[in-house]
Symmetry: C2
Subunit: 361 residues, 2 copies
């Protein structure tokens, strides 16, 4: 048996990958965005051990530890690499740091054409080797238990932080560049898209079995700007990705939060699956995309504050809305909140498996 076949046969749970490719499964697979995170006391303990948030991201052993933690508590069907979406701009020399109690900040934000011209595609094994090391370590540690998801921020979403220098409410600076100097914005997005393509391919080479592009701020754009400045660059990335590795397809998930008005355009961007936030009825979304893509989502993360009974009721509603057949990966519509009781997350995951049986043959 060669090593590729060996790796393939050792994947004990491939529901997640099958559902993304719209193949039949026994029950609906489920994972949670930000499943490795502050709502888990064991995460907080590891984080404390690591030092800063970026220290944790840059330590492959500890990044692996927190990636696996939620799998020890819940019957999740996928693991997701623990990392930050801003590793690429950091590797481009923008100087990422997190001030205590604040979001991300850049020491050297992109302010004008001169700073756009200085951007470069980072070397994936040099500047971003710690990410690939984490992927390899996690794959080894998972030992075929469930597939590992790699990920990146979308070029537009990375651009918002690169130009604003931090989180933003109104995106005044980055939209200012988009409106006033679209050439520079396109140049920034193109070099970022090239970087993301190489970054995700390097993660696939290191062992990521599916990849997801997080377009957290695509929904802040007008329709025209979404297509030209966000979707177009995700499409460029997807067309450059390795879609097969270890003799197995590597599905791609694309998620524009707040972007359900553009589902039809998203469905034609080349991804295997689309992420959905909770504001759209998943049954309606399924009707709109037809058989082009699988759908991942979409319970409001706030439902996890409610009782286990209420959580089950909401899971049942979403399963019923999606209906029978292939192509659904259950997830939250956004990351799990830090104050959620882990027992409620367990109730959610268990409810998906238990209640979804009748929807599969």
């Amino acid at each position: 048996m060669n090593s590729v076949t060996d790796q393939m046969t050792t994947l004990k749970n491939d529901r997640f990958l099958k559902a993304l490719l719209r193949e039949p499964v026994d029950v609906t697979p489920v994972w949670m965005m930000r499943q490795a995170g502050r709502y888990l006391p064991e995460y907080k303990a590891t984080r404390k051990k690591a030092g800063s948030f970026m220290d944790l991201c840059k330590n492959p052993e500890l990044a692996c530890e927190v990636t696996i933690q939620p799998l020890e508590r819940f019957e999740l069907d996928a693991a997701i690499l623990f990392s930050d979406i801003l590793t690429i701009p950091d590797a481009m020399g923008l100087g990422l740091y997190f001030a205590e109690g604040e979001g991300p900040n850049f020491k050297n934000p992109v302010q004008n054409r001169a700073s756009v011209d200085k951007l470069f595609v980072p070397d994936m094994e040099q500047e971003l080797g710690y990410v690939m090391d984490a992927v390899r370590t996690i794959r080894r540690e998972l030992n075929g238990r469930v597939p590992l998801i790699g990920f990146s921020g979308s070029p537009w979403t990375l651009a918002t932080y690169m130009v604003e220098g931090s989180s933003s409410k109104d995106f005044a600076k980055v939209k200012g560049m988009l409106y006033e100097d679209p050439d520079s914005m396109h140049k920034l997005l193109d070099i970022t898209a090239q970087s993301v393509t190489q970054y995700l391919n390097a993660q696939i080479d290191a062992g990521a079995q599916a990849v997801m592009i997080f377009d957290t701020w695509g929904g802040a754009l007008t329709t025209r700007d979404y297509k030209n400045f966000s979707l177009a660059y995700m499409q460029q990335i997807i067309s450059g990705l390795k879609r097969e590795n270890e003799g197995r397809k590597v599905p791609v998930i694309m998620f524009s939060k707040g972007g359900c008005q553009w589902l039809e355009d998203q469905a034609n961007a080349g991804a295997d699956a689309l992420g959905l936030d909770w504001t759209i009825d998943i049954g309606l979304a399924r009707n709109r995309v037809g058989n082009t893509v699988a759908l991942q989502g979409n319970m409001d993360p706030t439902v996890l504050y409610a009782s286990p009974e209420r959580i089950r009721e909401e899971v049942a509603y979403i399963l019923d809305s999606y209906g029978k057949g292939e192509g659904h990966v259950f997830n939250l519509g956004h990351g799990i909140h830090q104050h959620v009781n882990p027992e409620h997350a367990k109730a959610f995951v268990d409810a998906v498996h238990e209640l979804s049986k009748p929807y599969h043959r």
Copy 2:
């Protein structure tokens, strides 16, 4: 000539009212959400004179002054009452206050069924007489120059502040009540809807010539919850509103920010016009609602940071997207930002009038 006819004939510019009723106009009318606000130095001066933000809201003369200020600078086709959306919960005894540099806060937020049971419909001329006084003062001061818009927050949007006690990122408390104790949430929303109905009718009696319901946080809900907990109560309000006064129709505008996925449902709620944020193409929105309602919107307020040339280009794009004919009131997709240069707001307003001529006969 009786006084009603007298008041009618003195309305010198009725483009805005006509467009809301989908009647022909010479050019597309335009106003800006939050047009009386911090981007204007004269507003800041009046605010300083008044004291706190609520002192300004509660002073009819000064509220009138800031309402009129933007009309002195720009060729706006409507004035909007200067007030806060949280006047109703304040009048219910929740104790509204603004800490310096912060958003709104309530001393006595609604925390459980017992506090829901204490809520009551405030007396419009007693507890909220300062609002009606402001409406009367502004109408007198406007002297028929343009119509005056009255407004209220939607019941769901008011509920988010009433239960959270302040602005919120994730709405954990208010959604907690919605999920766990829907009866109490419905009771809260019903009494708030009754209050909003009386509040808007009192504004109409005092002289408001159109009214707008701001559902700022409807877009944070799932489709099912939006329909049951936000849209249903706006519908209840609209069905209870006076639709004619002073011998003239009083149009109703409904605006759910982040809610363009529910346009068809909104179009059937009884409003004359729907507000649109900037994430939907207004031409597509027009196709979706057909001839049921007028549309108000929808330039991204961030475009006002760009040059006057770029602002004109965006105005032209939106006019072209909407196309020829009736039923468009131009506006921003959300309130004008505080750091916008007033000259850019002028460029926006002038561009709408100048460039829209060919779209009307």
